[in-house]
């Protein structure tokens, strides 16, 4: 039997996202030229929440979109073909912008690698940054996050599952042994 343990509750997630929103504003000097691109599925929800917070704090509406990385994965052949997620760029695109990729869990780094490749086919941003709710370590590629909600030491045998209210009806991060 696997057992799961909540490592972040709703208020923790709320605080983590608020902090990341502030950090983005600080690092990008008021989020000028920033585009938030969530990686489906939960990265998109997180990107929207970050966008809302930045708007609350600063009164500026920053473009939020999604970037599906399925077609760029390096492990496609390990499983039957997967359904595609949705890619939707803001109307003005990503050229000359600072793109902040948003994902729920940072682990091997392969998803982010795929997202960078996908982004490359969509335009030429000035800079690309990475925000993640949880960094659980065990990187397999030279990738690090610019904004981290929580660093969570894990064993490779464990799983990290993120629940978000919009999709799952509750906010939580659970560690499953």
């Amino acid at each position: 039997m696997s057992e799961s343990r909540a490592v972040l509750e709703g208020p923790d997630i709320h605080r983590a996202l608020t902090r990341i929103a502030h950090e983005i504003l600080e690092r990008t000097k008021g989020a000028d030229g920033v585009v938030l691109l969530g990686i489906p599925t939960r990265g998109v929800t997180l990107a929207r929440r970050l966008g809302e917070r930045i708007e609350q704090f600063e009164g500026v509406k920053i473009p939020v979109g999604s970037i599906d990385i399925t077609m760029y994965r390096d492990d496609l052949r390990l499983k039957p073909a997967r359904p595609l997620g949705h890619t939707e760029l803001p109307p003005d695109g990503v050229d000359g912008r600072t793109v902040v990729l948003v994902d729920d869990v940072l682990y091997s780094g392969r998803t982010v690698r795929a997202a960078l490749d996908a982004l490359n086919d969509l335009g030429r941003p000035t800079a690309v940054q990475l925000a993640t709710l949880v960094d659980r370590g065990h990187r397999e590629l030279p990738i690090r996050a610019d904004y981290v909600g929580k660093n969570l030491p894990t064993a490779k045998s464990e799983k990290v599952k993120v629940f978000l209210d919009e999709i799952d009806g509750r906010d939580a991060v659970e560690l499953i042994k």
């Binding site: 599906d68 077609m71 760029y72 496609l76 052949r77 390990l78 499983k79 039957p80 073909a81 997967r82 359904p83 595609l84 997620g85 949705h86 890619t87 490749d117 086919d121 969509l122």
Partner: protein
């Protein structure tokens, strides 16, 4: 999804919706400046065409290339096939090349089924004789969905030479799977004797069906049928079964007109009907690439189903 796509009957409703949803996501790729995805890098798709069909071959070729697959075009004309090499020997040659998928167009019904026995890769039917053309049906369904939304309960009328039409066979099967109500309209000579067992309605009266149709799909009437006494004359066919301006006016305002091409303008379809904004004939071509990308991705993008 099955390993092969040979008949529209191979697709469950979930499969069909997955293909259409995937195509919907891939449609955006055709609109961006880099129209290429790395997904099928290192995979080989062979276009094996025993019949001339530049349109279909180009469509599959573009689809495979946009997914970064290597494409080998193997046309029967001028090759060893026209010198009497059998389908089986051709299949073994393709095996030796390591084809991951073979897209086959053949004049004989069932040739893709036979091919599937002889190759390890996926077989995609790009039209076999008077049997089926499942990717055409998928692109038609995709085109309808883009215009009309869900096809559940939609009234779709297919008009023309059903007996010899692979497009009609695949469309009837796929549209029934997707929950649409299909009506076939044709002179009785151009309907199979067993059409009563198909999952659709049949009518001989186009004028009675048009006002209730959300989609009217006109099939091409081939020249050789005109000379084989299936109907008395072109003029009579056109008068009874052609979609002219008067009939077009009887269709509901938001109904659309489709044609798998190539058209006989003035015969089964009037020129200004074909060119009207309610005709999907041009977008059917673009949708063909997108839909075939979806099929190739879903057949080849994951682990080999072997």
């Amino acid at each position: 999804m099955n390993k092969h796509l040979i008949s529209a009957a191979d697709l469950s409703k979930d499969d069909a919706l997955l293909i259409l949803d995937t195509a919907e996501e891939l449609a955006a790729v055709s609109e961006r400046s880099i129209k290429k995805l790395p997904t099928l890098r290192g995979r080989t798709v062979v276009n094996l065409f025993f019949e001339d069909s530049t349109r279909t071959r180009i469509s599959f070729e573009a689809a495979a290339k946009r997914l970064s697959a290597d494409v080998i075009n193997f046309s029967a004309k001028g090759s060893s096939v026209s010198k009497g090499e059998s389908l089986k020997d051709t299949a073994l040659t393709l095996e030796a090349m390591g084809a991951d998928a073979v897209v086959i167009r053949h004049g004989a019904s069932g040739a893709p089924h036979r091919l599937a026995n002889w190759v390890r890769g996926s077989v995609v039917n790009a039209g076999d004789g008077t049997h089926e053309h499942p990717t055409q049906a998928l692109l038609d369904a995709f085109s309808m969905r883009r215009r009309l939304g869900s096809l559940e309960g939609r009234k779709i009328t297919i008009v023309g030479d059903v007996l010899h039409s692979r497009v009609a066979r695949s469309n009837v099967l796929l549209l029934a799977t997707l929950g649409a109500d299909v009506t076939l309209v044709a002179p009785p000579t151009l309907l199979p004797v067993s059409v009563g067992t198909w999952p659709c309605e049949v009518s001989y009266d186009l004028d009675a069906v048009l006002p209730k149709s959300d989609v009217v799909m006109m099939l091409r009437v081939q020249k050789e049928r005109m000379n084989a006494a299936y109907f008395p004359s072109e003029r009579e066919y056109s008068r009874r079964y052609g979609l002219d301006r008067d009939r077009f006016a009887k269709m509901p305002d938001d109904a659309i007109v489709m044609h798998p091409g190539p058209m006989n303008r003035g015969m089964e379809i009037a020129a200004d009907v074909a060119d009207s904004p309610r005709s999907t004939i041009v977008e059917q071509v673009a949708n063909g690439v997108t839909t075939r990308m979806a099929v190739l991705y879903l057949l080849l993008g994951g682990e080999s189903a072997q």
